[in-house]
């Protein structure tokens, strides 16, 4: 890949951060996963051949990094389900949209991952299913259920 790496960060940094936040909540874990994603990309950058869809490639890397963090969390005493109230710090978000990330963080893990990789990351249902060890149909349903919950919450 001979594209200046800086351009990849500027073009795809926001999408990768959305994916990491949807999986891990609006705290430092998401920022760590973002860093690990771009560091991994930077390490392999010159050897990386031309990638037809760079954003999807980065989202897949981010997906693996975020799942690594989730698994590490699962090995710790604090269950993932309790994170929004106990561990996840509110994002310092100048636009005042931190609430949506906190809301996403309260969704069941399957729904968060489906929203992260498919809805925010733009991966196809089949790719998302392969990434999280599920079926395309289950991913489609999880994404729809998660988005419905968020909509209900924001309409109310």
């Amino acid at each position: 890949m001979m594209l200046p790496f800086d351009l990849a960060v500027r073009t795809h940094g926001a999408t990768v951060l959305r994916v990491c936040r949807a999986v891990l909540g609006p705290g430092p874990d998401a920022e760590d996963a973002w860093q690990e994603t771009f560091l991994a990309a930077l390490r392999s950058w010159p050897e990386l051949g031309e990638v037809s869809n760079l954003e999807a490639w980065l989202v897949r890397v981010a997906g693996r990094k975020a799942i690594d963090v989730l698994r590490a969390r699962a090995r710790h005493p604090v269950p993932v389900e309790e994170l929004p109230e106990t561990v996840v710090a509110p994002a310092s978000d100048a636009d005042g949209h931190a609430a949506v990330w906190t809301a996403v963080a309260t969704l069941p893990e399957r729904q968060r991952l489906a929203i992260a990789y498919h809805y925010l990351g733009g991966l196809r249902h089949t790719e998302t299913a392969a990434l999280i060890g599920s079926t395309p149909e289950a991913v489609r349903r999880a994404a729809a259920d998660g988005l419905k919950t968020l909509r209900d919450r924001y309409d109310g």
Partner: protein
């Protein structure tokens, strides 16, 4: 490409991330890249009386000064192709160069001391560019005189090409090379920029 649809009635609110957050993350990434020796080219953008300038450096030194009219994204792509694609915005790596340029534009500096990396130049062009700092501050030479200085009196056009392809304008003073009739000749940053630099040096010398 994958931007979520805008939030309308009954839809999910925007999953927004702010520019400042991304800038902070990118800065931290550049520091970590530097720690792991993964930063091939660092760049920053500075304001100047001749418009915004892009400054780029390798580990060896300042490698490129570019004018905004050259198109910064195109310049970065060129650097990626010539020097390596691990390019990141790492302004601290160009603190010394930015400070010296600031002093130069304020009329308080007549020579640059930061290390230079001529990796983008070869052969006769390199020879010309390395001699250009010999033309003192506030002085000028013709393309012909520079050719003679290099014992290549027939290479007037090649000197012109070497000036036109100078990767380090302002710092390597190709703006001090004019046509034999005293007219400006060409300049990568535009003739207005060339006159601005010459007038700046004239004023500082006269002061």
């Amino acid at each position: 490409m994958t931007t979520p649809p805008p939030a309308g009635p009954g839809s999910v609110p925007a999953f927004s991330v702010s520019e400042a957050e991304l800038a902070g993350l990118a800065g931290k990434l550049a520091h970590r890249a530097e720690d792991e020796s993964l930063l091939e080219v660092a760049y920053r953008i500075v304001d100047s009386p001749v418009g915004r300038l892009l400054l780029a450096a390798t580990e060896r030194g300042l490698v490129r000064v570019a004018f905004e009219r050259e198109g910064f994204d195109g310049v970065l792509s060129g650097l990626a192709a010539r020097l390596g694609p691990r390019i990141l915005h790492a302004p601290w790596r160009l603190d010394a160069a930015a400070a010296e340029l600031g002093e130069y534009f304020a009329g308080r500096r007549r020579q640059f001391g930061v290390p230079l990396d001529f990796a983008l130049s070869h052969g006769f062009r390199l020879a010309v560019q390395q001699r250009l700092p010999d033309i003192g501050y506030g002085r000028t030479m013709s393309y012909r005189q520079v050719a003679e200085l290099l014992d290549r009196p027939g290479a007037v056009r090649a000197v012109g090409t070497a000036c036109a392809t100078n990767p380090l304008p302002v710092v390597v003073p190709c703006h001090r090379v004019l046509r034999s009739d005293g007219s400006l000749g060409g300049y990568l940053g535009g003739l207005e920029a060339k006159s601005t630099l010459l007038e700046l040096e004239d004023r500082a010398v006269a002061a």
